[in-house]
């Protein structure tokens, strides 16, 4: 069925309140941590205190005599699991407790199960593990490290020729540190078996990928595994992988025949559910005197764990943002005895943008050109320079121009340290941003009932970003109903399969599936219309649902109540199933565009004591169709806070000798707090994207991209000091 472009706008776009808000603010939204089942036991993960080597002895016998302790699992008695399947983002990081090998400090070595979490915690503290420790690989410069390609090298033109032809050249090395995702909601699960049926309440961002992993690894039918996650306390990517704790809980629950709950502690969140890996990047840019780029070279190396590789994507945006004939990207990773990396909000893009957009600022400075002007001269606005196809949408120029106007960029004195207020140095910086297009597969079912209400069902998750709300709005428009008449049910793998919330792709994915489902629903309802019906003989694309009736698009007064259609066939409900459709031929000829953005930042620096405050942020985003102005704005503000954290604070440190996380608590690992975040002006520009019927592009991550570079560029403008290693801290800013 060809998806017709839907008419959206009665509810879509409106900044309505979250439909799940009342549940959250009254404490009635059930999170995984709230789940309690009859007979449930509590388990605590015990982690290694060496980074490399083998376990030679774990003495658990004494623990079993402690009050409340029911079992202690180690590699000696934990069930052997099947090899993990390759689901989204690859295999499970590793299968826990299958042998005595240790590959990082903080690795799962035992699971203590007790009647209460306090009893399990105390027993976990007393466990004695003996290791044959080996010298861990912890130094990224160690020549013994195994280096692997992370994504395919890309190249167009001849970068050396472009370098030689350039009038002005810049080249430098940039570094970004490990950042830890740290959703406020601690991750964990409750696993319960009934024969070969497993039900798990978890904090995953993707119910279907976890279902498949559990089914394969435990050797049970996928039909019998149910993953439930109606609410999530955030994730920022930490919920994308099939982490060992889930396998430990499920394995222990199966062995003991009782439900088992595992909740990680905050320090364990720094070790067991991934992080944004450290990167070192080299960027070279060449330009003609008029600012036209003649070459871009972007090389990146990230740090991986021994068993599980980093996500990459660091250079993924580089070939696409600017029209430049000569572009090369190279991306590598090295294996260290470090904890598992994963995706963290704007994975790769956040790190790669830091390097390239800082380098662009350096180039502008060398050229004596306004950094905004340099970008406007080089944006690839019409076609994707990587393949020459026309973009499905691209408003990056509008992002820059609108942002510059709102910010007052034209009043910027380009000379470093030229803008002052008393003792303070004022800096204005900007950066452009792009984000890759990503449209994963989802399915959805839309059901209408005789009472005029409707339900939408899809196994999606809502990180707290607003999935419940935006899909409700979309369905309300498609069905001609009020949002209160639409119930969007998600967070359950028994619902029609959905993609994960990740890659900024979920809203687009589910939206397009729902559009397809409504088209099928309309067809199904039309099939119910008998020969006497005024709708008899209409084609599916000529009818639509409005106010509980099926009616003609060209004449809505020709209508039949859905209740009558159902009653005529002795039905109580009718459904349409939908999925993300392959692009139509027109869309397929385009380059599918992701989101774009421009960030403008003012910083004030007290050069005597190195104190930096971000004073203003203007953040303009082209996200295609915006489904809910209020929630979209919240997304961008939240991402801006993350960007400020990336720029100024976040830095997961590792003890150089032992590989231990050195600052794995909220007291020691700094994230931005309210006082660090100024008012953020958020604007959306652009048009609905032409690639899909929904016209959305995904805005979960783009808001973070470019914030750090804009801040760093503002620091250079304020001080004349070019800082290339994040985070930017006081010790680098004392003048």
């Amino acid at each position: 069925m060809t998806a017709t472009k839907p008419e959206l706008g009665t509810w879509v776009g409106k900044g309505i309140d979250r439909v799940d808000g009342p549940h959250k603010v009254t404490g009635t939204a059930p999170y995984a941590s709230d789940v309690t089942l009859p007979g449930m036991l509590h388990a605590v993960v015990v982690t290694s205190t060496v980074a490399a080597g083998t376990i030679t002895k774990i003495d658990t016998s004494a623990l079993l005599t402690l009050p409340g302790v029911r079992a202690v699992f180690t590699h000696e008695n934990f069930p052997r699991l099947n090899h993990s399947p390759d689901v989204l983002f690859g295999e499970a990081p590793t299968t826990p407790m299958q042998d005595n090998r240790i590959t990082f400090h903080g690795q799962e070595v035992a699971l203590v199960v007790a009647d209460t979490v306090q009893e399990a915690t105390e027993a976990a503290r007393l466990i004695e593990v003996t290791y044959a420790a080996e010298t861990p690989l912890l130094d990224p410069a160690d020549g013994r490290l195994e280096t692997l390609p992370l994504s395919p090298d890309t190249s167009r033109g001849d970068t050396e020729a472009g370098w030689a032809a350039a009038d002005v050249r810049v080249g430098a090395t940039y570094r970004t540190p490990e950042n830890t995702n740290n959703p406020l909601g601690l991750m964990g699960c409750v696993a319960a078996w009934d024969g070969d049926h497993l039900e798990i309440h978890d904090t995953t961002q993707g119910t279907i990928a976890l279902r498949k992993t559990l089914a394969v690894m435990f050797g049970v039918p996928e039909s019998g595994v149910r993953v439930r996650v109606p609410y999530l306390g955030g994730g920022f990517g930490a919920g994308l992988n099939q982490w060992p704790y889930k396998l430990l809980a499920a394995g222990a629950a199966r062995e003991l025949g009782r439900p088992v709950k595992v909740m990680l502690t905050r320090p364990q969140m720094f070790r067991l559910v991934g992080h944004r890996p450290d990167t070192e990047q080299q960027v070279r840019l060449g330009a003609a005197r008029d600012g036209t780029l003649t070459m871009i070279e972007h090389r990146a190396t990230s740090l991986s764990s021994i068993d599980f590789l980093a996500v990459g994507l660091i250079t993924s945006g580089t070939p696409h943002l600017y029209t430049c004939p000569n572009v090369a990207t190279v991306e590598r990773t090295v294996r260290l005895n470090r904890r598992y990396p994963t995706s963290m909000r704007a994975p790769g893009e956040a790190e790669g943008n830091w390097a390239v957009e800082t380098a662009m600022d350096e180039l502008a400075h060398e050229l004596g050109m306004d950094p905004l002007e340099l970008r406007l001269r080089n944006f690839a606005t019409a076609v994707d320079p990587a393949d020459g196809k026309p973009w499905s949408s691209n408003a990056v120029v509008e992002c820059c121009k609108v942002g510059a106007e709102l910010f007052g960029w034209s009043r910027r004195d380009p000379r470093p340290s030229s803008m002052r207020e008393g003792d303070l140095l004022i800096g204005w910086g900007m950066a452009a941003a792009g984000f890759f297009a990503y449209l994963p597969m989802s399915q959805a079912r839309v059901t209408v009932y005789a009472d005029g209400t409707a339900a939408v069902r899809s196994a999606a998750t809502d990180l707290g970003t607003g999935t419940y709300t935006v899909i409700t709005q979309l369905a309300a428009d498609l069905l001609g109903l009020h949002p209160q008449q639409v119930d969007f049910q998600l967070g359950d793998s028994d619902l029609p399969a959905s993609a994960q919330s990740g890659g900024s792709g979920l809203a687009s994915s589910v939206s397009n599936a729902v559009i397809d489902a409504v088209a099928h629903l309309q067809g199904a309802l039309l099939d119910l219309a008998g020969p006497d019906s005024p709708l008899h003989g209409q084609r599916p694309e000529d009818v639509m649902c409005r106010d509980g009736a099926l009616c003609r698009r060209d004449d809505p007064s020709v209508r039949v109540p859905i209740a009558d259609l159902l009653a005529g066939q002795n039905l109580v409900e009718a459904s349409g199933d939908g999925r993300v459709r392959p692009p139509d031929p027109e869309a397929a000829a385009m380059a599918q565009a992701g989101a774009y953005g421009a960030r403008f930042v003012e910083v004030a620096i007290d050069p005597m004591i190195g104190r930096l405050r971000v004073r203003r942020v203007v953040s303009v985003t082209d996200g295609g169709r915006i489904l809910n102005q209020k929630l979209a704005r919240s997304q961008i503000i939240g991402a801006t806070v993350g960007g400020i954290g990336q720029a100024l604070f976040e830095d997961t440190l590792t003890d150089p000798g032992t590989g231990r996380v050195a600052n794995g608590t909220f007291g020691d690992y700094l994230v931005a707090v309210n006082a660090d975040v100024p008012d953020v002006e958020v604007v959306f520009v652009g048009e609905p994207d032409r690639y899909t019927p929904a016209g959305t592009k995904g805005i979960g991550e783009i808001g973070l991209v470019g914030v750090a570079a804009a801040i760093g560029n503002a620091v250079h403008h304020a001080t004349g000091r070019r800082l290339r290693d994040l985070p930017i801290t006081i010790d680098q800013l004392m003048m």
Binding site: I609, G610, T665, D668, L670
Partner: protein
């Protein structure tokens, strides 16, 4: 679970006797440090004597000093109008500390006794910590140090005393009243703490069973000004990288008298007497301010992660001196 006895006496003598009688007992007040340490498994008392029912709450304003009950919370002391009028830097230090939720729990007596934030001290999986286990070594010196001390430390321990309010309190020479097994005594704060380089495992001069009951804070004389500058990575809810508490009396553009203490740099709240001596009776002179700071920091012991603190502390003091010596606007 590790069981412990929990007592909640209502009289000071009872509380002191309960702790004195049991070598594994300890007092518990607001708990903002101790409960963390217990959860982390760093501190494992067998008996907790909760002192929050003792009549040690409240502030008595006298003409020359404040008598502050040890259980007075940080927020209560900050809200006292006389503190704003006569001890501005005490108020500023209080309000720059912790978060309002913590300040409503944390007591002044407990604040003075807070344990170091050193992550190596607070992680029992780290074996090398001379503060926790004498003669075990110091993991912080060889690993990641930033929130650590550079004064009153050596290679055996670089633990920081992270209190903000203790910094102005040592500048005004507050003292504590202590009830203990051998009776009552007064200890000036200048003699209260023990530097890490004088013994990493001993933090102060209190003996087992000694209980701080009152903090006496002299009011600054009329004509004095004071202020507290705290420098930290983020704008709120973080301990100081460096801080400077300055109180002074100006005579024209001459510094007639001055008190200085530094935070974020010492294993104990750091009174900068040499800086005071260099500045007392001198004219306002930024070069001299910096020299006074350099003299204070001359004995610093640094590791790579803390080396920047020497310069930052000098600058923090200079900035605060410049602010304090400006003619009132």
């Amino acid at each position: 679970m590790r069981a412990f006895v929990y007592d909640r006496p209502t009289a000071v003598g009872e509380a002191v006797a309960a702790v004195a009688a049991d070598p594994q007992a300890a007092f518990l007040a607001g708990g903002t440090t101790q409960l963390d340490l217990m959860k982390d498994g760093v501190w494992t008392p067998d008996r907790l004597v909760d002192i929050t029912r003792l009549p040690l709450r409240g502030i008595l304003v006298e003409s020359q000093q404040l008598k502050v009950g040890a259980l007075t919370t940080m927020e209560q002391l900050a809200a006292e109008p006389v503190v704003a009028q006569r001890l501005a830097f005490v108020r500023e230090a209080l309000l720059h500390g912790a978060s309002v939720q913590l300040r409503n729990m944390a007591t002044i007596g407990g604040n003075l006794l807070q344990r170091t934030r050193c992550r190596y001290f607070r992680d029992p999986s780290v074996s090398a910590c001379n503060r926790r286990s004498p003669d075990s070594g110091c993991a912080a010196v060889d690993n990641v140090a930033r929130m650590h001390a550079v004064l009153g430390v050596d290679e055996r321990c670089i633990a920081l005393h992270a209190s903000d309010v203790a910094v102005p309190l040592i500048a005004v020479e507050a003292s504590v009243l202590v009830d203990g097994p051998s009776g009552q005594r007064r200890i000036p704060l200048t003699e209260f703490w023990v530097r890490a380089d004088e013994g990493p495992s001993i933090e102060n001069v209190l003996g087992h069973g000694d209980l701080i009951t009152e903090i006496d804070i002299p009011l600054l004389p009329a004509g004095w000004r004071s202020g507290y500058l705290k420098v930290r990575d983020r704008a709120s809810y973080e301990f100081a990288l460096t801080s400077a508490a300055v109180a002074l009396q100006m005579d024209g553009d001459m510094i007639a008298d001055i008190r200085i203490a530094l935070g974020g740099v010492g294993s104990v709240p750091w009174r900068a007497r040499e800086a005071e001596d260099m500045l007392r009776g001198t004219h306002v002179d930024p070069v001299r301010f910096e020299q006074a700071g350099r003299a204070t920091m001359a004995s610093a012991f640094t590791v790579p992660g803390t080396a920047f603190k020497v310069d930052l502390a000098v600058r923090t003091l200079s900035r605060q001196l410049l602010t304090m010596t400006e003619a009132p606007r």
